[in-house]
């Protein structure tokens, strides 16, 4: 009898103990605690973007860094203090390149993992979220998961055009320590589209950017912009993956897959919304640094807010530290922007580059990210999706059916960049050549042009008139060693 009594007491003690042993940390936040309030979900969503804004991702590397180096946009000095020479030579075994590549992979998947945790909790905790917040949180988390996967795909998998059933990438939809499964390129793209379309449906119901009164504009100018209205979390929709950003991403990915009708549909949804006005020349060319808009801010569908002093310093070191930085050979720059011909008056060349003298001549410094150090009409940003890209997508997708319309989209962008001479040519080859050249000018220092070469699987111009052949050894970055080793890839 005594024995039983002891057993019962012990059992009772043990079960109440279990609760007592569950200690909540006070200086760290447990996931369950974070996701018990609406504010926690908002913080987690903000966390996704803050993570994206770090220097290993869009804060520096994936915007200004190695993808543009791979596209041969830069020149480096013999000392090469920033260690990009081997990247320019496509030496994918170079230690510095490997470090940056691995950091990008890890960073993107880290954002994905963060999205997955949010998605795991958002439906469980539907009760604590109001409907619009639920839709925005879930929509943005889904969109972010797809957006980051797409950049992994564009870096590490053969293009859809080259190998639609290529090895692909891991498409991760759960936060777990289990080795994520690989999806073929086509499968991965379909998963991204699925996530993005779901996100689009969710955001359609809740995104304030869709309200007719929502106007994009400059933060610092008291014009009719109302991007700062409403609760903090739903302000600055263009710093989040908003409804139009999702449309833009869909257009981008459909185009990558070669699904022109759907790409066009989504691109046109953005264009026809007329939400994003072309930047006024007076803003772009404003001599007053504080009022100057080099970023073409109003045209951004989505950009990562990266106004962190460390990031700003890092960008300054990378781009503005004399010839020790990534710079542009004067002649190369002039060739890219066709300054001897049609680009003689291109605002972009004039505003985004400055001629700097150095011991053996003159070079071009990239000024796209230059701002007044104290104040500016828009914050420091890493551009991610632009209105011009929508026009380019629309143009490319409509050329086969309506070349004139295609040239019209093309010329619209050029016109807004100061190139008044419209082009028109029935040849698709000519059109594509012109389009690629324009895209390179437009996306300089934004990390997009390399993906375009890859998507089209075309050879592209290297330095001093050379040509880089379209081969997978250049277009497909090897997976990180750890991924191969621990994931059996």
């Amino acid at each position: 009898m005594k024995k039983y009594l002891i057993l019962i007491i012990t059992a009772a003690a043990l079960s109440s103990c279990k609760k007592w042993l569950d200690v909540k940390p006070l200086t760290e936040v447990e996931q369950e605690v974070l996701f018990s309030t609406e504010a926690g979900f908002m913080e987690a969503i903000n966390g996704l973007y803050t993570r994206c804004a770090q220097q290993d991702l869009y804060g520096k590397e994936l915007s200004v860094g190695f993808p543009d180096a791979l596209a041969q946009n830069y020149t480096v000095s013999p000392e090469d203090p920033n260690k990009y020479r081997q990247t320019l030579l496509y030496n994918y075994k170079d230690g510095d390149f490997v470090t940056r590549r691995d950091a990008a992979w890890k960073g993107l998947y880290n954002v994905i993992a963060n999205s997955n945790i949010i998605l795991e909790h958002v439906d469980k905790q539907k009760g604590v979220l109001t409907q619009p917040v639920y839709a925005i949180v879930k929509g943005e988390a889904l969109a972010m998961r797809a957006y980051c996967h797409f950049d992994v795909l564009r870096l590490f998998a053969a293009s859809y055009a080259a190998e639609p059933n290529g090895k692909g990438i891991p498409y991760v939809t759960a936060f777990s320590k289990d080795v994520p499964r690989m999806y073929k390129t086509g499968e991965a793209i379909d998963l991204m589209l699925q996530d993005l379309n779901a996100a689009k449906e969710l955001l359609r119901t809740a995104d304030p950017i869709l309200t007719p009164g929502y106007k994009v504009g400059y933060d610092a100018v008291t014009d009719s912009s109302n991007e700062k209205d409403g609760p903090l979390f739903t302000q600055e929709r263009r710093h989040h993956l908003n409804y139009y950003a999702v449309c833009g991403a869909l257009a981008r990915i459909y185009l990558y897959k070669g699904d022109h009708p759907r790409a066009l549909f989504n691109a046109l949804e953005v264009i026809n919304a007329n939400k994003f006005p072309w930047t006024k020349q007076s803003d772009f060319l404003n001599p007053d640094e504080e009022k100057k808009d080099r970023m073409l801010y109003k045209e951004l569908l989505f950009a990562v807010y990266s106004a962190n002093s460390e990031t700003t310093d890092a960008l300054r070191r990378l781009l503005r530290d004399g010839v020790a930085s990534l710079y542009i050979n004067l002649q190369e720059g002039r060739n890219i922007y066709e300054t001897g011909g049609v680009g003689g008056e291109d605002f972009r060349y004039k505003q985004w580059f400055s001629e700097q003298a150095y011991s053996s001549g003159t070079y071009l410094r990239l000024e796209k990210y230059t701002r007044d150090p104290d104040r500016n009409i828009h914050p420091q940003l890493a551009p991610a999706l632009r209105l011009s890209e929508m026009y380019y997508i629309a143009a490319e997708c409509s050329f086969d059916t309506d070349p004139a319309k295609a040239w019209e989209y093309f010329n619209t962008v050029r016109l807004n960049r100061g190139i008044g001479t419209p082009r028109n040519d029935p040849s698709k080859a000519v059109f594509m050549e012109e389009l690629v050249k324009e895209a390179r000018k437009e996306f300089f220092g934004e990390g997009q042009i390399f993906y375009m070469y890859k998507r089209l699987n075309i050879s592209f111009p290297g330095s001093f008139g050379s040509t880089i052949p379209a081969t997978s050894s250049i277009f497909v970055l090897p997976f990180p060693d750890d991924e191969i080793a621990f994931g059996n890839r």
Partner: protein, 1102 residues
């Protein structure tokens, strides 16, 4: 009555047993105390006799009852556990052939004991020893038993067996403690216990080193090992790291933990238990030595399993002295401690040699920085110093011989129901670096109350301690070692020089820009008001209730609270050399103040039920059922301020601002632990022994999927000396024991098992602050498990005058907490998992012999040695990856190029030294020849050729020594020896080959380096300024002997101390770390020199 009349009544335990009486009416003032007592006692068949002032002894009246009436055997818990109640001993003595027995009663040290009561067991026939400890007792039956008893000593029973002369040696109660194993929950008789436990008395510890408890424990048990700290030397504020039977944890594979010195940061400490509750190593480090009664070291898992998840690294159980009943007594102890630096490990160049070395090293040959003329001027300026006789011995500048005092007063007394004790301590301990020290003050109070029936006992003990540690303002000792001897300290006016030298060099980092190196006087740092101190105030209270409803049951509850508040203040004066190069705007930012606090709270409670049972005098059973809960929380806060105006206003409020671009630091850690255990102990006729323990532990650190963990132990033993065939042989003790157990370890950080979020506090996103997850929390995380196997033999010969005990152990630690790499597409790179295995096995030998014994002399020898082998049997990929990372770091990080770094390989030990194999110096050109992995020779160093070279684990290490007692004198000597371990001689690398010739170097840099072709030397070319890298050349086999301790004591004779109204008087002298002989020459005590210490102590009792 004792309380009422302020008298003391003494009696032998079984005199009054079984007699009950009501309290007598109050005494008439006219009646003398002795008459009053006798009036009352007469009816009870007792008689009182005066024995000194206010002291009375009670006897049974000689003729009142026939001796044939057997007295009931005493039936206390303790007596049961002692198993002394064998039926034969209680039989009444027969009256035939009674004889007279006489003899001498002494205490363990051989001093005669007056006043000891000797009674024939079961009768009322007794006597007392005289002034000289001699007694004579008539009418003793030859088959009877004599019981010797004396207050403060353990009673002893001796069978007469027809003898007429019986000498007895009484052990003090403390010494008799050694017969028991106190494990914090139970008190078990050592004879019947299968676990491996060492019991050391506080007094024994003092014989080794009265300044350092942990050091003293190490000397008594070889498997309790303080990890040598060559960097911190004898810094009195440095807490040691301890291993018990080898390391059982892996450092987590973060790339930060590279060098071996950081290996010392692995938390592998044993569990410390003070009077039943857990305390930190710091509590023990600062504990008042005089309060310790015993230390029980539980080493094998059978002994520690009762602590379950905390048991893997051994348990150290401390018990403090309980106040004894009796009139007020005052103990006083004084210690004078002198520390003196031991600089014998240093051998640096003198002024003339140093300058010659600089010349040979080519400092004054053209160097493309300065012109030849400028260099020549520099050389001759120094030469002038040398010739004018400047030869500063920098090593002696920051050190001094220092004194420390300790006064310790203890008051105690009380009646059998109410006892009290108060301990006060004042202790200063100054280190050999000037200005460093650790001062400790403590006050503790013990109250115990037991109501009349003695079935209940309440005991409360509280302690307040204040400890203040100060670091030397003189800075690191290494700064003095490298100072050139031709620098004067003071200028011609006797003022301290600040800048002593400067030269130009080309910076490798900044595109070969020319920079100037300034040599600043380290002595200057001590004159400018900087300080670095930590202080804590601690309150500890332990409350204990014990209920003994009968001799067989004991129920006890324990609750304790520890609260500690610690503050750290680190002020660096704006005038410090650190800010020498500050200019312009920076000037106002000179001077920093770092302030930190820690609040620590621990509540620990336990509840235990003990039951013992004797069945047919053959089966002895002992059960314990207990539970224990513990909750700790610690809060840390710190911040830093900068910008001080001068060195006079050092309060933090004078700071200009907080540290630039820095945030305050802080952290809160909470841990909870709960456990239930059941333990049983069985012996059959004291011959066959069996022990077993089961404990279930839950910890807040475990993952939510595995909150509860079971642990167990099982042990068997055989007391061969109780068998017939060993009776009447020289073998007085022979015991075989085997145990096995499963124990755990939870010394990993809290919260690893939860996925937690962190905020981007420093980074704002345009729509609010962001949060991302920290790391993947493995909810299946569980405790590390150690499977233990232990075999031991205890052999005692000639009444244990020779004692020999070899032990073998095997510890397999599985589920080692290790980082597991996952493909980073999961979103993280690694997580914590229980993977990895490590084996520690080894043997320990204890030997003790009383080689000579006579009336006045006693000579004892003792030896304890241990050999431990550590093998990593399984590691995770993350650690393998870590090795590659280490290779890379070693190649790239200039600070790590010449240091053997920690690597992990299966089949190797954690103590393996990894380096590139070297064939030595080529006599042809003074370059080092390396071996590639394939055995070919090369001059080119490649870190990929790194292989395991040696093992730091010694073949054998331990202590040996002996003691001699002559009358009232005692000498005890202890040596430590370490045989056959490898050491990477960092001195040869850092201070000979890689030493910058601009600074002072080891003397071997001048005389033992290669200078011309044909030189067959150990060191490379003297003019070779290139970096020497980690190679096997510097791995040396070490044999070492240290004279660790000498203890001298003198016990004043009674005639002397009685004149001073004292109850005893003893003076003692301890000498510690006296001498050191090693087969290799290594600089020891890099940041803080080692010290010799001398302690004179005086203790007395009033």
């Amino acid at each position: 009555m004792e309380q009422r009349y302020r008298i003391r009544i003494n009696y032998v335990g079984n005199t009054v047993n079984g007699i009950y009486a009501d309290a007598p009416p109050a005494k008439d003032p006219g009646v003398s105390m002795i008459d009053y007592l006798n009036d009352f006692l007469r009816s009870l068949g007792l008689e009182a006799e005066p024995a000194g002032k206010d002291q009375y002894i009670i006897f049974r009246k000689e003729k009142s009852r026939p001796a044939s009436q057997p007295a009931k055997p005493a039936a206390g818990v303790e007596m049961e556990a002692l198993n002394t109640t064998t039926p034969g001993a209680t039989a009444p003595a027969t009256l035939q052939q009674q004889s007279t027995v006489s003899g001498l009663v002494t205490e363990e040290s051989g001093l005669p004991l007056p006043g000891v009561t000797i009674v024939v067991k079961g009768t009322f026939n007794g006597t007392k020893t005289n002034e000289n400890g001699k007694y004579r007792l008539t009418n003793v039956p030859p088959n009877g038993t004599l019981v010797f008893s004396y207050i403060g000593y353990k009673s002893m029973e001796v069978k007469v067996e027809g003898r007429t002369a019986i000498d007895a040696k009484l052990l003090t109660e403390v010494q008799s403690m050694k017969d028991f194993v106190v494990n914090g929950y139970q008190k078990l008789q050592k004879d019947n216990y299968t676990g491996s436990a060492i019991v050391i008395t506080g007094e024994e510890l003092k014989h080794f080193n009265p300044q350092n408890i942990l050091q003293s424990i190490q000397a008594r048990d070889p498997s309790f090992r303080l990890v040598e700290n060559n960097i911190a030397g004898s810094n009195p504020n440095q807490l040691p790291n301890i291993n018990v039977r080898g390391t059982t944890a892996l450092p987590s594979g973060t790339p930060g933990q590279l060098s071996r010195n950081q290996l010392a940061s692995i938390t592998n400490l044993p569990l410390f238990i003070l009077d039943g509750y857990q305390v930190s190593i710091q509590n023990i480090f600062d504990l008042d030595f005089n309060r310790i009664e015993t230390v029980t070291l539980l080493k094998d898992a059978a002994a520690t399993a009762i602590y379950g998840s905390r048991a893997s690294n051994g348990v150290c159980v401390f018990t403090t002295k309980a106040p004894k009943e009796g009139a007020l007594e005052l103990y006083y102890n004084y210690e004078l401690n002198v520390t003196t630096p031991d600089l014998t490990a240093y051998n640096v160049l003198d002024a003339g040699q140093k300058l010659e070395y600089e010349r040979l090293a080519g400092l004054y040959a053209g160097n493309e920085v300065d012109g030849e003329e400028a260099l020549e001027r520099l050389y001759y300026a120094k030469k002038k110093n040398v010739l004018s006789g400047i030869n500063t011995y920098w090593l002696s500048q920051p050190v001094s011989n220092d004194f420390g005092h300790k006064h310790s007063v203890s008051l105690q007394g009380g009646s059998s129901s109410m006892r009290y004790g108060v301990d006060v301590r004042y202790q200063t301990n100054n280190g050999v670096m000037k200005g460093s020290g650790r001062d400790r003050y403590s006050l503790s109070n013990t109250l115990s109350y037991s109501p009349r029936s003695h079935k209940l006992l309440f005991r409360n003990q509280f302690t307040i301690s204040q400890v203040k540690g100060t670091e030397s303002p003189y800075g690191s000792f290494a700064d003095y070692v490298k100072m050139n001897p031709y620098y004067p300290i003071y200028d011609s006016n006797g003022r301290l020089l600040r800048e002593m030298d400067k030269w130009n060099y080309r910076s490798a980092a900044e595109n070969s820009a020319i920079r100037t190196e300034h040599v600043l006087n380290p002595m200057y740092e001590a004159t400018i008001g900087s300080f670095n101190k930590q202080e804590y105030l601690e309150f500890m209270d332990g409350f204990n209730v014990e209920y003994n409803p009968s001799g067989q049951w004991r129920i006890s509850g324990n609750i304790s609270l520890i609260k500690r508040k610690q503050t750290n203040d680190h002020f660096i004066s704006p005038l410090s050399n650190l800010f020498y190069s500050y200019a312009g705007d920076q000037l106002k930012d000179r001077g920093t103040y770092e302030y930190g606090t820690e609040d620590f709270t621990q509540v620990d409670g336990s509840f235990t039920i003990n039951h013992n049972e004797v069945i047919r005098n053959e089966h002895f059973l002992n059960f314990s059922l207990g539970t224990n809960i513990q909750s700790t929380s610690s809060t840390l806060r710190s911040f830093k301020a900068q910008g001080f105006t001068n060195d006079r206003f050092t309060d933090i409020s004078f700071a200009r601002m907080y540290e630039k671009d820095a945030a305050p630091q802080g952290g809160v850690t909470e841990q909870r632990l709960a456990g239930v255990f059941l333990s049983f102990n069985y012996s059959f006729q004291n011959r066959f022994l069996m022990d077993g323990t089961v404990r279930v532990d839950g910890s807040s650190k475990f993952g939510s999927d595995s909150r509860m963990a079971p642990f167990w132990s099982y042990g068997i033993g055989w007391n061969l000396h109780k068998e017939k065939f060993l009776q009447h042989t020289p073998v007085s003790q022979l015991r075989l024991k085997a145990t096995t157990a499963l124990t755990g370890d939870v010394s990993f950080p809290a919260y690893l098992s939860n996925t937690t979020y962190q905020y981007y506090t420093g980074e704002w996103y345009s729509t609010g602050v962001g949060a991302v997850f920290n790391a993947y929390g493995n909810s299946r995380l569980k405790w590390q498990r150690t499977h233990n196997y232990d075999l031991s033999v205890e052999l005692g010969l000639f009444q244990d005058r020779v004692y020999f005990s070899p032990r073998y152990y095997h510890k397999l630690t599985t589920d080692l907490l290790a980082d597991i790499n996952v493909p980073s597409s999961t979103g993280f790179e690694r997580y914590k998992e229980n993977l990895g295995e490590m084996v520690n096995k080894g043997f320990e030998v204890y030997m003790r012999a009383n080689v000579f014994r006579s009336r006045n002399w006693s000579v004892n020898l003792n030896l304890n040695m241990v050999h431990n082998t550590n093998v990593i049997t399984k590691i995770s990929d993350a650690l393998k990856n870590y090795n590659d990372d280490v290779d890379k770091q070693q190649q790239e990080n200039p600070d790590l190029k010449a240091v053997p770094l920690l690597r992990y390989r299966e089949g190797q030990s954690l103590n393996t030294i990894y380096a590139v194999r070297s064939l030595g110096i080529d006599p042809e050109n003074g370059r080092e020849i390396f071996l590639n992995l394939d055995g070919t020779r090369t001059y080119d160093y490649n870190v990929k050729n790194t292989v395991p070279i040696g093992d730091q684990t010694p073949k054998l290490d331990g202590y040996f020594g002996g003691s001699v007692i002559y009358k009232n004198f005692m000498v005890e000597v202890s040596f430590y020896s370490r045989l056959g371990g490898d050491i990477y001689n960092q001195t040869l690398v850092d201070r000979v080959e890689n030493a910058s010739p601009w600074y002072n170097v080891d003397a071997r840099a001048l005389d033992a380096r290669w200078k011309q072709p044909g030189d067959q030397v150990f060191f490379k070319n003297i003019a070779d300024m290139g970096n020497t890298l980690t190679s096997s050349r510097f791995v040396q086999r070490e044999n070492r002997v240290e004279l660790k301790a000498i203890y001298l004591s003198y016990e004043a004779p009674a005639s002397f101390y009685k004149r001073l109204r004292m109850k005893n008087l003893r003076c003692a002298l301890n000498m510690n770390d006296i001498a050191y002989w090693s087969s290799i020459k290594l600089e020891r005590g890099i940041d803080y020199p080692f010290a010799r210490s001398f302690t004179f102590s005086l203790s007395t009792r009033f």
